[in-house]
Structure formats: structure tokens, C-alpha cells
């Protein structure tokens, strides 16, 4: 009972916290028919700044880390990404009247990672004083890319289709395309700068300071979008809404399990375990949809974007972040 109260208290706390409040504010403005818009260029810049900060922090942390500590969580991140897609395929295969391609695209998006959710989780942990290895958030592409690619390859395998204008999309082409996506590029650029440039000053004085402010802008933008996307979900089966509510929580538990395994095997910190759980719980809003639109053209974008941006991201931020912080406090006595 105490645990439940503690968890509910955390959810209320999260609702009052700035991150979710901005998200809800954006959604409310949109629901009231407001013409408020975050211009696309601002949105792109916001994502760039957040991921540069995550990447630079990650790069600097990799320098200090033992390689043996990093490779197992990185491998786990990739396994989680693929596992989520396979589980999603299993779920949607059981359902009547759901197109396999729609299910796979949705599972791919939920296996991929949301920079906004990740940034919100990092800020939450920093506020609570829970330490985590700086390189764990930089595992983003290790989960994101395998998830998107396995979804696309499985969809291609299920349905031999004509390629748009004969542009063949093999696995290597897909990997190259994912690495060139704006979100992953910003993150990898940040990692490289953190590793090789002496960028401590600009990191601390610029990117780190801008992080909470820009996250709040991104949250308003995602709130506006979430409301618009929920409306699109009406045109597809209710199974997608059910999946979008449950999947972030289930995936978070899978991530937490692998994080705990890495804790036992290579000493991943409790904070690192939470971040891995949130990476698993989150779903891509930005870089994933265009990759899937190109890779699985027969899938209905309303199904996967509606599920992801409309429901999945709010669930990941509002429920999963407090849930897995609470779970970590139970599992790791050192956090109490």
C-alpha cells in the first residue's frame, strides 16, 4: 500500500513538474483550438541542442569509462530494440483486422527512442540527485537503429513489394539512412565532439544551461502534436490505442530487467538502469516516422504516429519516468 501511495505521489509530482506541465499545456492549447505553433525550424534546433548535449555528455563520459562497462549495456540496448519489435509483431499478429505492416511500423516506432522522453528522464534524475553514467543516454542509437531496421526488414520480408522507383533498400542502405537522420547525426556529432574536442566549456556554459529551457519548448510542441495525432487514431483500430498505453510500461520493465542484469554483471549504476528502462519505454516522435514512411510505405502513418506521439510519449513521460524511479528505489536500497 505504501508503495502504491509512493508511486501515486510521484505521478502527481510529475504532473506538477515543469516537463509534463508544458506537455499538457501544449495539448490543452491545441484542444482549445489555439493557433499556437512552434515553427519547424525552432523545433529542429531544439532537438539539435538537446541531442548535442546528450551526445557531448556521453562522449566525455566514455573517455572516463572502462570499455568493458560500456559494451554489455550497448549490446543489451540493441537486443531490447529488436525484442520490442518481435514482441509487437507477436501482439499485432494475434489481433483480427490489423494489417501486419501497420503493426510492424508501430512496433518499430515503440522500439525506437524519443529524445524528448530521454531528456525529460535525465532532467528528472538530475533533479532527484540520482547519478547515472553520462554515456548511458548516448546508447540511444544502439536501441533506435536496430528497432527501426528490424521492423522494416520484417515488413519487407512479409510482403515482397515494389520499391519506389527501383531504389532498393537493403539492410546496409537502411543503416546508412538511419545514421544520417537529423536526430542520430546530432547525437553522434555530440559524442565525437565530447570524445575528441576539448569542448567542456561550451558544454557547461551553453548546452547544459539551455537543456531545461529547450526541453520545455519541445514539450509544448509535442503537446500540440499529441492532441492533433490522437484525432488521427480514431480512424484505426482501438488495438493501437491499447498497445500505445501498455507498451511503454511493458518495454520499460524489459529495459529495467536488462539494466539490472548489467548492474549485476558490469556494475551499471541504478541511475543508468533507470535511463536504460526509459530508453526502452520511449517511442520515437521525430526521426522514426520518416524512416518508417520510406521503409514500410504500405503502413498507415495515422496508426503508428497516432499511437506514438498521441499516446505513447505522454504515457512514457507521465507514468514511466516516475514508475521506474520508484521501482529503482525499491530494487536498489542505496537510492533511498
Amino acid at each position: 500500500m505504501d508503495l502504491l501511495l509512493d508511486f501515486l505521489g510521484r505521478i502527481v509530482g510529475q504532473l506538477q513538474g515543469p516537463t509534463l506541465a508544458f506537455l499538457l499545456g501544449g495539448a490543452l492549447a491545441s484542444a482549445l483550438g489555439s493557433k499556437l505553433q512552434i515553427p519547424n525550424q525552432v523545433y529542429q534546433l531544439t532537438v539539435f541542442i538537446l541531442l548535442m548535449r546528450v551526445g557531448m555528455g556521453g562522449g566525455a563520459a566514455i573517455l572516463k569509462a572502462q570499455l568493458s562497462e560500456v559494451y554489455l549495456p550497448a549490446l543489451f540496448a540493441a537486443i531490447i530494440g529488436v525484442l520490442i519489435v518481435v514482441l509487437g509483431l507477436g501482439y499485432f499478429s494475434l489481433l483480427p483486422k490489423v494489417k501486419k505492416s501497420d503493426g510492424l511500423a508501430t512496433a518499430g516506432l515503440f522500439g525506437a527512442v524519443s529524445s524528448a522522453t530521454l531528456a525529460a528522464a535525465m532532467l528528472h534524475l538530475e533533479k532527484e540527485g540520482i547519478a547515472f553514467e553520462g554515456w548511458v543516454p548516448a546508447l540511444y542509437p544502439f536501441m533506435d537503429i536496430p528497432a527501426l531496421i528490424s521492423a522494416i526488414l520484417l515488413a519487407q520480408w512479409h510482403e515482397q513489394r515494389s520499391q519506389p522507383l527501383k531504389n532498393q533498400q537493403g539492410a546496409w542502405h537502411l543503416i546508412k539512412d538511419s545514421l544520417r537522420g537529423s536526430a542520430v547525426t546530432a547525437l553522434l556529432l555530440g559524442v565525437a565532439l565530447g570524445l575528441f574536442a576539448k569542448a567542456d566549456n561550451v558544454y557547461k556554459e551553453f548546452y547544459d544551461k539551455l537543456f531545461p529551457g529547450f526541453l520545455s519548448i519541445l514539450m509544448v510542441a509535442l503537446g500540440i502534436d499529441a492532441w492533433q495525432r490522437i484525432k488521427e487514431l480514431k480512424s484505426v483500430a482501438g488495438w493501437f490505442a491499447l498497445y500505445a498505453v501498455a507498451a511503454p510500461i511493458v518495454h520499460g520493465f524489459i529495459g529495467f530487467f536488462f539494466g539490472y542484469l548489467a548492474h549485476l554483471l558490469v556494475g551499471l549504476s541504478p541511475g543508468g538502469t533507470i535511463i536504460l528502462a526509459i530508453l526502452a519505454a520511449s517511442n520515437s516522435d521525430i526521426s522514426g516516422p520518416p524512416t518508417l514512411r520510406a521503409g514500410i510505405p504500405q503502413a498507415n502513418p495515422s496508426a503508428y504516429i497516432g499511437s506514438s506521439t498521441g499516446i505513447g510519449t505522454p504515457v512514457a513521460i507521465a507514468i514511466c519516468i516516475p514508475l521506474f524511479v520508484g521501482l529503482a528505489k525499491i530494487v536498489f536500497p542505496s537510492l533511498q
Binding site: N40, P164, L165, P290
Partner: protein
């Protein structure tokens, strides 16, 4: 001074920009004009790119190509209908135009 030619207009999803632009040149077009557009059709509402948040690739683009040889246009249009438009939003139409500097088309 003016010579008759055909203008082909293609309105489709931005995600196809690279493959269509390459395809047009492969088919013998000497160039094209590209616009960012938005609008509403049977598929659904496509916000123009200036609106935030919509992943940019989900916005619409419009190609305009002018060629003198009608057979090229028919080839391009049938390839688009066969390969792209079963799954992607797309509108194609042609108009008769008159051009100068005919060597450019």
C-alpha cells in the same frame, strides 16, 4: 519565338523527393522546379512545412518539369502510378505550355 512543350506537375510526399528527382533526370529531363506545398486531399490534410512538429518528410512537395517529348511524360507518370502512388499520396497532371530557349527542355 515560343515553342510548344508539356509541363508535368507532381504533388507528393517529401519522403519521395530524392528518388523522384533522380528518376526525372534518369528519364531525360534536363531540370525541374521544386516547391514546398501543403493542402488537403483524399489521403488526409498535409500541413505546409512551416508548421512545427510535423516531421518534415511528411509535408508535401511539388515538382514541375517541362519537356518537349510527350513520351517521356507518359513514362514518368506510369512509373509513379505503379511504384509510388499505391502507398504514397500523389497527384499528377500535365498542361500545355509555350517556352523560349528551347534547348533547355
Amino acid at each position: 519565338m515560343f515553342v510548344e512543350a508539356w509541363k508535368l506537375t507532381i504533388i507528393t510526399e517529401r519522403v519521395l523527393e530524392q528518388s523522384i528527382s533522380k528518376f526525372l533526370l534518369d528519364q531525360g529531363c534536363k531540370g525541374y522546379t521544386l516547391f514546398s506545398v501543403g493542402g488537403k486531399g483524399l489521403h488526409h490534410f498535409h500541413a505546409p512545412v512551416e508548421r512545427g512538429v510535423v516531421p518534415e518528410e511528411f509535408s508535401e512537395i511539388q515538382f514541375e518539369v517541362i519537356v518537349r517529348d510527350r513520351t517521356i511524360i507518359d513514362k514518368i507518370a506510369s512509373a509513379l502510378v505503379k511504384d509510388c502512388f499505391p502507398h504514397y499520396a500523389g497527384i499528377v497532371f500535365i498542361e500545355k505550355v509555350e517556352v523560349i530557349r528551347v534547348e533547355r527542355f
